[in-house]
């Protein structure tokens, strides 16, 4: 698929439409919306789907979901499938045809196989012909042979992993086991159900047996830092309620407020994609993007990039006048090529905590002193 030129065309249309026409001015518009930020988790949400390895190759690929916020005690229902082409039609988003869909089961994890995909691809020409559609320009499928190994697939070919994860209550308490039916339409209700897809590259060794450059690994989140200090997963720091600066204090605009959370990734997480062939144009590498979530409080940014990965977190006063509140934070990293990783932390919001004291202060020489006023 000509992702490159497709994205370029979309970029041209969107950018030109925004910056040279009225689109930009419409951002001045007013509306009555006051939505919860996307970083706030109040109900069941799938934060990420991980594939190991993050592509479809000769070895099976194991997929699993990172689900948070589910109703306590609720059983989760799963549906997984692999599909060459999923698209929006007739008000639905589904595989192009049920015969092209590879059912991967209803368990919390699933395994995707290239061999199973190849058998489906053999049916593709007939399906397209029956629907009167043209095949993708970058996929050459030899319909004259019945040998899967003779099917030539462009290494830039991407398939869709369809998934639906829901709470059993929306199905009357019992999870269905008909994957095809569950994935034929988006969720019957948005509360307690998420329907999505994940693109995974299909990787086939080339004629010389060398692996494609799409062979890559998931990034790894090594740790988080809190206000510059490493934050172990088993440590629950106590933090103060965030207090906003005076409104007329313009110098505090655009600065990180409250706590600073910074993800740290392991070396090698940013992999080279291709070397540049033009002077002045840098090599193409992966670009890590971090998504932040919490079940209380506010993050300054929904996402940050690898250039400036830190994010500000503002703890809010505990609800219902409780003395303290335990807050869970989640951080997910994606590499733009299907790879992902995540981590979880908790902190305790205590309104009586003095502001300015580092949340991870302690007696250990590597930690800030608790009597020092930090940033």
């Amino acid at each position: 698929m000509k992702t490159r030129t497709f994205l370029a065309a979309r970029c041209c249309v969107v950018v030109l439409g925004c910056l040279t026409a009225l689109g930009c001015l419409s951002t001045l518009g007013c509306d009555d919306a006051n939505y919860d930020p996307p970083t706030l988790i109040k109900t069941m949400r799938v934060l990420a789907v991980r594939a190991d390895p993050p592509y479809i190759g000769l070895a099976p690929t194991r997929v699993s979901a990172f689900v948070v916020g589910q109703t306590p005690g609720e059983t989760l229902c799963y549906a997984w499938a692999l599909c060459p082409f999923a698209w929006e039609e007739d008000g639905n988003y589904a595989c192009l045809d049920p015969s092209l869909q590879v059912d991967l089961g209803n368990a919390p994890t699933a395994n995707a196989s290239l061999l199973a995909l190849l058998t489906v691809l053999e049916k593709l020409p007939a399906v397209l012909a029956a629907k009167g559609l043209q095949p993708p320009k970058d996929v050459a499928v030899d319909g004259a042979t019945d040998k899967p190994s003779d099917v030539a697939v462009d290494a830039g070919f991407e398939v869709r992993l369809l998934f639906q994860i829901s709470e059993a209550r929306i199905w009357g308490g019992t999870c269905p086991n008909d994957t095809t039916k569950m994935l034929a339409k988006p969720c019957p209700t948005r509360d307690g159900c998420m329907f999505g897809d994940k693109g995974l590259r299909v990787v086939v060794p080339n004629d010389k047996g060398a692996p494609s450059k799409d062979v890559h690994a998931n990034p790894r989140l090594e740790l988080l830092t809190l206000n510059g200090v490493p934050w172990p997963a088993d440590v629950t720091p106590t933090v103060a309620v965030y207090k906003a600066p005076p409104a007329d204090d313009l110098t505090q605009l655009n600065t990180t407020q409250g706590l600073e959370v910074r993800p740290v990734w392991s070396p090698g997480s940013i992999e080279l994609i291709s070397k540049s062939t033009e002077a002045g144009v840098p090599d193409t590498t992966e670009r890590l993007i971090f998504s932040f979530f919490s079940d209380a409080g506010t993050f300054q940014y929904r996402r940050t990039g690898f250039q400036v990965p830190d994010n500000g977190y503002q703890a809010e006063r505990p609800a219902k006048k409780a003395a303290t509140q335990l807050v869970t934070l989640w951080v997910v990293v994606r590499d733009g090529r299907g790879g992902s990783d995540w981590t979880t932390r908790q902190l305790l919001v205590d309104p009586t905590t003095p502001a300015g004291r580092h949340p991870l202060c302690g007696d250990d020489p590597s930690l800030p002193k608790c009597d020092e006023v930090g940033p």
Binding site: T5, S26, G91, Y93, D154, D197, R287, V308, R334
Partner: protein, 871 residues
Amino acid sequence: MRRLTRVLCTAAALLALGPLTLAHGAAKQVGAPAPIIVPPKMVTYVTPVYPEALRKQSLRGTVELELDIGADGAVKKAKVVASAGPDFDAAATAAAMKLVFTAATRDGKPIPVRIRFRYRFAPALQINRRGRARGLGRYDRRAWERAPAGFESLNGRVLERGTGRPVAAATVLIPALKQETLTDVGGRFSFGLLKAGTHGVLVSGAEHKDRRFKVVVKDGRTTGQTFRVNRRSYVIYRATATAPPEPGEMSRRSISAEEIQRIPGVYGDAFKVVQNLPGVARPPAISGAIIVRGSAPNDTQVNIEGVRVPLLYHFGGLYSVVNTDILEGIDFYPGGYAVRYGRKTGGLLQARLKLPKDDAHWKGYVEANVFHAGFLVSGPISDDVQVTLSARRSYIDAILAAVVPDGVLPFTLAPRYWDYQAKVDWRINAKMDATLLMLGSSDALRAILDRPPPGFGDANAEISTTSGFHGAIALLRMRGDDWKGRTTLGVVRTSANVNILNDFRIDVTSWQTTLRQDFVFGSGPLQLRTGLDVFVDPFDAEVLLPPQAADLGEGADAEAGSRLLKMKATGVQPAVWFDAVFNLRRDLEVVPGIRLDLFRGQNKGQTMLPRINARYIHSEALTLKAATGILSQPPAVQDVVERFGNPELLPFRSWETAFGAEWKPHARVNLDVQVFHKRLWDMIVPPRTPWEGFGSVNAGRGRIYGLEVLLRHPPVGQFFGWIAYTLMRGTITPHPDMDERLLDWDQTHILTAVGSYKLPANWEVSARFRLVSGNPITAVTAAVYKENNDNWSSIRSACVNCDRFPPFHQLDLRVDKKFIFKRWMLGVYLDVQNVYNRANPEGINYNYDYTQKAYQSLLPIIPSLGVRGEF
């Protein structure tokens, strides 16, 4: 004549000149050699007799007449259009029938015309004991005499205060000496031998207030007196002439520059004003998009004198790039236009440049409003050459820099724009004249972000955009005894640059060249018209793609891995056209025509397009009209360029038919009703599935039909305005196996009411009210989570465009006031859009996962203040 009660009557010769000057412009057709109309000039003035029955009552009155002047210059008919009572009416009519004019001509041939004329009756002036005139009591009007050549006692000029325009046919009276005279077209007057001394002078005109002066006559010769008088109102509504429209045009609607300046909410923008006419849908908020009979904005052609304008507005809709004051007006064709125009299936908007005036003098203004400051200056540099210069620049960037501290706003260069126009008109000889217009525009915006969005560029992230054009339009008009020709050459260089975070960049340059040659042969029962219309559009673009869009896999493409794309394309579109005007009878005109378009270079295909128009003048008040024809439109260059589009795309076509009637039962009532139907095929639409590539295909079919009504009160008396109503439906079937759906721009009901009223003391109020059906929308029924990007993508209903926004309605008001000084005027206006602050929905704002939604309105109540100093 005995010493009788003097009647102070003046002729409104200006009325005779003014409307025909406008007729000259209105009848002039852009894109074809325009007819040269010379208005009639008064030869014999006849003073009406003050009605004896009213003398004792000392009544005043003004009678406005509509005179039909024959081709011999004699008044054939005088009809009262503004009465001052039966007695005054009868006296005015009787005198008017005896007036004698030179014949008006059209391309040198005498034609009958209709003009407005005014007689003003005032009680007789009384001379009091001190010799000052309170009226003309026992003063006998003497015949107008000139002193012997070379010997003048008093002469001078009467000019209008504020504008400096000469006042013609004004009475200059010296009551003490019992002498009076009239000013000529240039405002000049002279008296014969006068007694030396100080004399009181009374100046009075039909359109001007009486004013008294003192002059000193020395040694029998006094020269160069200039008297400046105030108009009764500086809010001038010029009546349009009733010269017939050009043949082959069924639905032309013309608006003068003066009307354009007065409509609230359009800020005097000549292009936006058509949004208030029938057949034109309402675009979002302040957008300048022109959506004609359901067609997309890009389907309507906008020209200046036949040359395409590449960018109409600053920043896509903020303000027009062309100063309306260099235009005579605009002609808008929602459909049914002649074969001399093509390459678009929507409407046609022609801007006409102002024509040089015979009595031109230097004038201009300096203005400032919410958006920009600017100036215009115009005048003759010789008897045959006139120039006009205009420039404007926005100043919001300067204001923000001065007022807002550094670092608070993300802009390093706030939005700024400028534009300029320079025009030269040259009368080469009696049969040839030329015009050269140079114009240009520039928009720029640059912002530095403190941190780049995730996955993008450098820490020092920049977003910038610049766009603009420079061009020249040259016109040469020629005429012979039985033919006329016009050559038009336009060259416009357009450039645009967008830079997003140093990761994504687009640089586009194009040189659009238009060459037209139009000829008209013959007159009377048969007129032949033909021409050549060539449009060349070279397009050059360089795109730096973001790394995410770079080729991530091995491909057959030789440039795999490259982020830099270069594109060059040239569209060459020559066309020839031919039509014939058959005046089968005095009341029936039929114009069949044909146009052949070739599309070469980056475009492909050719089209042969027949059209036919007909007009039947049923009576003086009622005209019936009809038109049918085929139009074609080539794909845009970016739709056919190799990497981004489909080079195999062909032009799409439409077949349009319309019927209509124009009814003018009264001078102040014009009613125009049209029904139309349009069928489109080979429409350019996205491919059926996303993986077929992103190049469009010729697969769509469409239908648009409706009713248009325009009820108009022309600028006569104290008021002008119109009510426009459109009832319309437009549908498209994108692919044969897909359901028919409403067009994105479909608005079932469009009601617009516009009016402007002249108040005393140079005040004017204007209003505009609009009530429009909401735009179609497709409901979001679900959403799919795109895990790769941690984003949600909406899923829309299978029923596309089946829902609508709530109806739009809005009231705009405008108040103008002019302050008159000796040699200049100050105009001030307040324009308030959305007076009752209606939150009209223009979009829908969803939350991140499309589970919640709220209507989004754009602009609230917007007051805008402007000032203009004019000389």
